[in-house]
Symmetry: C2
Subunit: 376 residues, 2 copies
C-alpha cells in the first residue's frame, strides 16, 4: 500500500512521540513506533510500558495497515531530509520504502502482533470512577517546572518517584519530595469539584514538560491511569498505586525566625560555596545575625575554604545552621523568578521553609529543605 506525507509534518509528529521510546530496554520491540493507518488517519504510538504517547495526521491512503518500524532510524531519516514529499510504499515482503525526488530509503517492518497493547483510555473498565478536567497547558507546565526537581529517585520509596496531584477545595496542590527537600505548590485558580489524590510518575512529568504549550490540557483520571490530551498529542501513564507520604507532618508550623534575602545574590554566593563544599555532605554553613548572613564552606582535602557576607533582613536570635549546598542550589534555581525570598527557621535541626516574599494571587508556593548537622 502507498501513502505520502510532507517530511516536515512527519518530523513534527515524530519529535513529539519519540520521548516515549526507551533508549535502553530489555524489550527491543519497544524501540519501534507503532504505525497505524485507519480510514485516512495515520496514528503513531510509542510506549515504554509506563507511559505511552500517540499523535495523528490526516493522509491520503486507500488501505489500512498496522505495523511497527524502527523508531530512531525512521526519525533520523525524516529529520535529515529538507522539506519534501515522502512517498511511503509498504510492501508485503516486510519492507517499507520511503521515496523522495532524489533518494530512496528502505526499512524493515514487523507485524504489530507482538507490540504491547496501548491502553485505550477512558475505556469500559474505568468508566465508573472516571474524572475529567481541563487545565491550562502553561499553568500545568509552570507547576511541573517548580516541582519536578524535588521528586525522589530511589526505587525503594516508589511513592516519592512521582508528583502528587491533590485536588482540594482550595484548588489543585502539587507536591514533590525526595525526603531531603520538598515542594508544595497550591494553584488556587485550578478549581474542580473533585476531592482526590493521584501520583503521576516522574517519566510522565518530564515528557509533559517537553510537549505542554499554551493550549488547554484535558485530563482523564481513573484509579490506575491518567490521560493527558493536549492539542495534538495524547499521553497516557499508569499512576503510582502507593500511598503518598504524609507530607503535612514534615512541614513545621512554628518556624518563628524569619530571614528575607535577595534570591539572586544568595544563589550566586551558594554557587561559589559549592566549589568548596565537596565532601559527601556538601555542607554549607549559614550563620545568621542581625541583618547579616555569613555563609561558609570548607574543603578539608584541598585545604581550601570560602566565606561570604550577605545583607538580609533578620532581627531574631542568632542562628547557625548547615545545608547540603546542592539542595540549596536546586531550590534557589527554581525560585529564580523571585526577587526576594524568605527563610523561616527554628533551630539547627529542624526543617527550614522557603517561600517567595511576594505572594501571588493565585498560588501558594512553599519549599522545604532539611538541614545537615554542623558538627558531623
Amino acid at each position: 500500500m502507498e501513502f505520502k506525507v510532507n517530511s516536515k509534518d512527519l518530523e513534527k509528529l515524530l519529535t513529539k512521540i519519540i520521548p516515549a521510546v526507551p533508549t535502553r530496554t530489555p524489550m527491543p520491540i519497544l524501540e519501534n513506533f507503532l504505525f497505524e493507518i485507519k480510514d485516512g488517519l495515520l496514528t503513531i504510538y510509542a510506549t515504554d510500558l509506563e507511559i505511552s504517547l500517540k499523535s495523528s495526521l490526516n493522509i491520503v491512503a486507500e488501505e489500512n495497515i498496522k505495523v511497527i518500524v524502527p523508531a530512531k532510524l525512521l526519525y533520523d531519516i525524516v529529520r535529515s531530509l529538507s522539506e519534501t514529499t515522502i512517498h511511503f510504499n509498504v510492501s508485503e515482503s516486510g519492507k517499507i520504502e520511503l521515496k523522495t525526488d532524489f533518494g530512496e530509503y528502505n526499512l524493515s517492518y514487523l507485524s504489530s502482533d507482538e507490540y504491547p497493547d496501548i491502553p485505550s483510555f477512558p475505556n469500559e473498565d474505568s468508566k465508573d470512577d472516571l474524572v475529567e478536567i481541563s487545565i491550562s497547558g502553561l499553568e500545568l507546565k509552570s507547576a511541573f517546572e517548580k516541582c519536578a526537581f524535588a521528586m525522589g529517585k530511589e526505587e525503594l520509596r516508589p511513592a516519592m518517584m512521582g508528583t502528587l496531584f491533590e485536588f482540594t477545595e482550595e484548588g489543585l496542590r502539587f507536591v514533590a519530595t525526595d525526603g531531603h527537600r520538598l515542594v508544595n505548590l497550591l494553584k488556587k485558580n485550578i478549581q474542580t469539584d473533585i476531592i482526590n489524590n493521584y501520583i503521576v510518575p516522574e517519566k510522565a512529568i518530564s515528557v509533559l514538560l517537553k510537549v505542554l504549550d499554551e493550549k488547554e490540557a484535558k485530563l482523564y483520571l481513573s484509579k490506575t491511569h491518567v490521560s493527558f490530551r493536549l492539542n495534538d498529542i495524547e499521553l497516557i501513564t499508569r499512576l503510582i498505586g502507593q500511598k503518598y507520604p504524609d507530607y503535612r507532618s514534615v512541614i513545621p508550623l512554628e518556624n518563628e525566625f524569619q530571614m528575607k534575602i535577595d534570591s539572586k545574590e544568595l544563589h550566586n554566593a551558594i554557587k561559589r560555596m559549592m566549589l568548596f563544599s565537596t565532601t559527601n555532605t556538601r555542607r554549607v554553613k549559614f550563620a545568621i545575625t542581625e541583618n547579616n548572613l555569613e555563609i561558609s564552606a570548607e574543603d578539608l582535602d584541598m585545604g581550601a575554604s570560602g566565606k561570604e557576607h550577605l545583607k538580609c533582613e533578620y532581627s531574631d536570635a542568632p542562628l547557625e545552621i548547615g545545608f547540603n549546598s546542592a539542595y540549596v542550589n536546586d531550590v534557589l534555581s527554581h525560585l529564580s523568578s523571585e526577587k526576594k525570598i524568605i527563610f523561616r527557621l527554628h533551630s539547627p535541626t529542624k526543617a527550614v521553609i522557603l517561600h517567595p516574599a511576594e505572594t501571588k494571587e493565585n498560588e501558594e508556593l512553599l519549599m522545604l529543605i532539611m538541614p545537615v548537622r554542623l558538627n558531623a
Copy 2:
C-alpha cells in the same frame, strides 16, 4: 605579601592558560598553576610536560614570589566572581587568601620546587640552529582548521600524531594524515628563507586553535622545540622527533577521472547515508556514471538501506568505489566553505583526491581519502 588584581583581567589570563593543565595525570603537581611575581609582573604558567603556556599581567606588588596553586579551583573561583578587585594575601604558612568586598576564599599553595622546569626558549643551547619567523595568526588558524582532523591518534605511529610544517621555496606546507585520509595545504603567501621540516604535536595544535587570533604569531623553531608567541601568550611545545612518512608517495599523480559536484549537497546526502552505514567499515558506495552520482549504503543487521542520486559533472568511464562514510563526512566538513569540489579518481582501489573547484591565489589545498573494498 600582598597584591591586588581585577577579577576579569585575571579570569581572561587564566582562561588562556588553563588548556595546558592536564585533567587526568599521574603527576598531580601538574594540576597546579605556577604563579610567579617578579618586579611587578605576575606570570602564570601551566604545563603537561609536552606543551607549556605562559602569560603575564602587570600588577602592583612589593615583593617577589613563586608558588604553585590548584589550577581548577582558582580558575573556578575567579570566574564565578562578578567584576571586582581581588586582594591576594600570600602568607608564609602556605595559605593564599583572596579577599573581595563581600567574601574571602582560602587556598593552600605549595612551594614551586617540585614543579617541573618550564623551558625558557630560545635559550643558550638552541641559539645556533634557531629559526625565527612571523605568520598571521588568522592564516595559521585557518591552516590548522583544515588539517587538524586528519592527524593520527595511534601511539604506534608517533610521527603522524602531529602536523608537518614543511618550509619550502613555494611557501609553507602543512600536512596531516592518519593513513586513511590526508590533508596537504600549501600556503604560498607564507614565504621564508628556510628549507626545513618540523612536526608539531596534536595537543599544541588544538590549544593554538583556541588562542590564535588576528594578531601576528612569532615562531621560534629549534631542532627539538617550537615557541609560538602570540599577542599576550606564549606556547612552547616539544617537536615530534621522528621522520614524517613520505606523503608524496601516496598522492597519486595520474588520477585521470574527474567528478565536479556541489559540496553541500553531497555532504547532506553523506550524512543520511551514515544512518545506514553502521558496520565496522561504515561503507558508502559511490557509483558514478555520466553526470550522475549514485551513493548508497546498507545496514544488514537492521535490514535497512538508502540510496540517493546527485547531479554532478562527469564524462569519464563509469566507476564504482567504496569509502568509509565517516571519513568522507570529515573531509566534506572541512571543505564546507567551498561551493563546488572536484574528486579525482582512477580505480576502486586507488587513493582518491579531493580539492576545491576554484583554486585560491595564495593556497593549494588537496585532500585524499583511501577507498574501502566494495565486496568485502
